[in-house]
């Protein structure tokens, strides 16, 4: 018995691996869409490159890039991305693909947003009805998009009552919370379709151009430190904007529904 246990311990430490790899910080919504599981094996196959994903909110992803801890970021918040490049943290910004945000809520739809004519009207209805609304509240791309929608309706989320609940968590956790309290929540379409705990929730509003959700790739400025692999980041960018990536991204479906639209421009 004793020998067996010691042997088991020896096996535990015996393994180690260190392949050529780069790190990319991505948003939680990108990861929970499931697209990464399609793209990463293809990247490995085509480029022999291990892309290690750090799944965080857009705010934290840009922060990791700023510190030079990741080689590139893939996020979805245009204003924050432009500020990132302007501040010299990233070399440039390249648009890759888009999907859209949707408003999720209880099947009974107490605020009647499914008949709303625009996203601004829909959130106005939620505010009028004072029904619970779950906000990401974590400075992520989705959170920023949500704040923009409130602003477009002339409302300020800071002044909301207790019905407005900022959970400060990732997309999946926010959806779980919304399911638990039968609240409304803004989600990207991909995360919603891939979400397993749809209990009592339904997609109630979508289709307004203001809900457009652009994902962009930003290589981190390699002058930050010597360990940054800008060469690999550029290789990845070339792949992400190639016809092969276009085919995989456009062909990715959940339950027969297309999730992302490839829109990278060839330079």
């Amino acid at each position: 018995m004793k020998k067996l246990i010691l042997a088991a311990i020896a096996v535990l430490w015996a393994q180690a691996c260190n392949a050529d790899a780069m790190r990319m910080a991505v948003t939680t919504s990108f990861d929970s869409s499931g697209l990464a599981e399609v793209l990463l094996p293809a990247i490995k196959e085509d480029l022999d490159l291990d892309v290690r994903l750090l799944v965080v909110g857009t705010g934290q992803a840009l922060r990791l890039g700023e510190a030079g801890d990741v080689d590139a970021v893939l996020v979805h918040s245009k204003a924050a991305e432009k500020a990132f490049v302007a501040a010299g943290h990233g070399t440039h910004r390249r648009e890759i693909m888009y999907n859209d945000f949707v408003i999720i809520g209880p099947v009974a739809d107490p605020a009647q947003i499914s008949v709303a004519s625009s996203a601004a009207v829909a959130v106005q209805k939620i505010e009028d009805a004072q029904t619970p609304f779950v906000s990401r509240g974590d400075d992520s791309g989705t959170h920023k998009a949500e704040l923009k929608i409130w602003a477009s309706a002339g409302l300020d989320a800071d002044g909301f009552g207790p019905w407005y609940r900022a959970v400060g968590a990732g997309m999946g956790a926010a959806l779980n919370t919304a399911a638990g309290m039968q609240a409304y929540v803004l989600s990207d379409r991909a995360s919603w379709l891939n979400f397993g705990n749809k209990d009592g929730l339904a997609l109630l509003f979508s289709g307004d151009p203001v809900l457009f959700n652009q994902y962009a790739f930003l290589p981190v400025d390699p002058s930050k430190n010597a360990a940054l692999r800008n060469d690999l980041a550029m290789k990845l960018e070339d792949w992400l904007t190639s016809p092969r990536a276009a085919e995989l991204i456009n062909g990715y479906e959940i339950n027969g529904e297309k999730l992302f639209v490839f829109n990278a421009q060839n330079e």
Partner: protein, 234 residues
């Protein structure tokens, strides 16, 4: 309720089918936590014993401080380790961020105070018993500490198991410094957090049951190795 049954079922199938990914993350969990446990014990056990044996001016302050550190939130530890190991931080050149080593460092910081506090508490009682004998034998300080560690090994084992329990179930710190990268730093707890985020409660619970099973096996293994809880060896 239904989901708990589903969780048990998924745990059962993951284990009996020798799911490759489950093996990988379980072994990584064990490797990280057991390494952290060894390092933390090597620091904490002599420290706790020393504090029991030695009298000096700020002893009480140091003991209170270590006890207070037991309540350190893992997220704060994670953030501190992140800032230190970040490439823009003081230890950035080591390039340790988002590696299992970073996770081990964070866990050592979290569990060292736990082990030191429990070790100190039990060593203090033992020292009260051994005090007169060891003083009259004219032992050196080092000999006293060694004797206490040797004779108090069962209590120290409890301290280590408490540290192990805290480390294996910890998620806040290793999420920040490890990054939950698939095939690199994903361990059981971060995988559970991930599956919960995806709304796949059955798989998350299944992994949780596997975690409890592993903790159980490790406890048994440590008892076997140290020959405690056996007949005739009380």
């Amino acid at each position: 309720m239904f989901e708990i049954m589903e969780g048990l079922k998924s745990a059962f199938w993951l284990v009996v089918t020798f799911d490759a990914e489950l093996w990988e993350i379980s072994l990584r969990s064990l490797r990280v936590t057991l390494t952290a446990l060894l390092v933390a014990s090597a620091i904490a056990i002599p420290l706790g014993t020393f504090l029991a044996v030695q009298r000096f001016r700020y002893r009480r302050t140091i003991i209170s401080f270590i006890n207070a550190l037991m309540g350190l939130p893992p997220v704060v530890v994670g953030l501190l380790v992140y800032i230190l190991l970040s490439r823009s931080g003081p230890f950035g050149v080591l390039n340790l961020l988002f590696t299992p080593t970073a996770m081990i460092i964070a866990q050592v910081i979290i569990i060292t105070p736990v082990i030191a506090s429990i070790a100190h508490q039990s060593m203090r009682e033992l020292w009260a018993e051994y005090h007169d004998l060891l003083i009259s034998l004219n032992t050196t300080k080092g000999q006293r500490i060694l004797t206490l560690i040797k004779d108090g090994r069962r209590n120290l084992l409890t301290a280590m198991l408490a540290g192990f329990g805290r480390a294996i179930g910890e998620v806040g710190a290793i999420m920040i410094v490890g990054g939950n990268i698939d095939h690199v730093t994903r361990v059981l707890t971060t995988a559970i957090a991930l599956e919960t985020g995806k709304g796949d409660f059955a798989l998350a619970l299944g992994l949780g049951f596997v975690l409890i099973g592993i903790a159980f096996v490790v406890n048994i293994a440590i008892h076997t190795l140290s020959q405690t809880e056996r007949e005739g060896r009380w």
